[in-house]
Symmetry: C2
Subunit: 123 residues, 2 copies
DNA sequence: ACGAAAACGAAAACGGTTGTCAAAACACAA
DNA sequence: TTGTGTTTTGACAACCGTTTTCGTTTTCGT
């Protein structure tokens, strides 16, 4: 694990919500790092490939990342103002998605579930 | 409703799955229309604002559109090969999302739920 | 038919992301 | 330590989907 990638992971772990690559780049530069934007993207790509961070897309199509507490499959409630996120799990939803897939003859079923709202401190 | 926008709606209604703006543009040009890409984007934007089509983002960040049978809130099972889609509804999921939001003090809660798989004719 | 308003399309601009490539950092054997 | 091959890095350009701009065309009301 290279130093740069470690720095990106640290920056991500130090934030409570979903951050974009450019956010993290700005954070790292602000704290004096000479890291390049390309490297931030590369680090996030590889952390994501390794399953160490969760990725999702905003409505604007921007990719945002988060270092999650568990490696288990789970979902989030994300504040649309400050992007803080709470991890949530629900076996029923997992089962429902799988059942739906089976019912319509779909194989290799995956799903995305994200809940958005305004968190108590932002409202 | 302008002619061009109607053409885009027709192109969308004639497909069974989610299509990107560029897909629709290609379809329309292929059938002889002299429509411009800009107009396709504009038409999709306005159809989407009017709630007449559903929009979602692929993992690659591309926006894809679909003319749905119902205007009610619903979700989809989407084939990741041919992008054919089945509309699905489930009050439990709706309730769950709302409950989760309330439990963590989030207001103005919305959610996105999409199921992906390989449909029977593509597998 | 006329003028105002809306729609249109080509091309440029934009913004996030990825590719390129030479320089720098590193590993490690001699 | 020095040399050599590998990996990582970052500036910059390229890419791609989308939006903006702006001059032209079409539509609509009168």
């Amino acid at each position: 694990m290279s130093t740069r990638r470690e720095a990106v992971r640290r920056a991500l772990t130090g934030s409570s919500g979903f951050r974009s690559a450019q956010d993290l780049y700005a954070d790292l530069r602000a704290e004096g790092s000479k890291i390049g934007l390309t490297t931030v993207y590369r680090a996030l790509q590889s952390l994501s490939d390794a399953g160490e961070v969760d990725v999702l897309r905003t409505d604007e199509g921007e990719a945002v990342y988060r270092a999650c507490d568990t490696e288990n499959h789970h979902h989030h409630i994300v504040c649309r103002v400050c992007s803080a996120a709470v991890e949530i799990e629900n076996p029923d939803v997992e089962k429902w998605a799988a059942d739906m897939g089976a019912e319509y003859g779909f194989t290799n079923v995956t799903h995305t579930v994200e809940v958005f709202g305004t968190c108590s401190s932002c409202s």
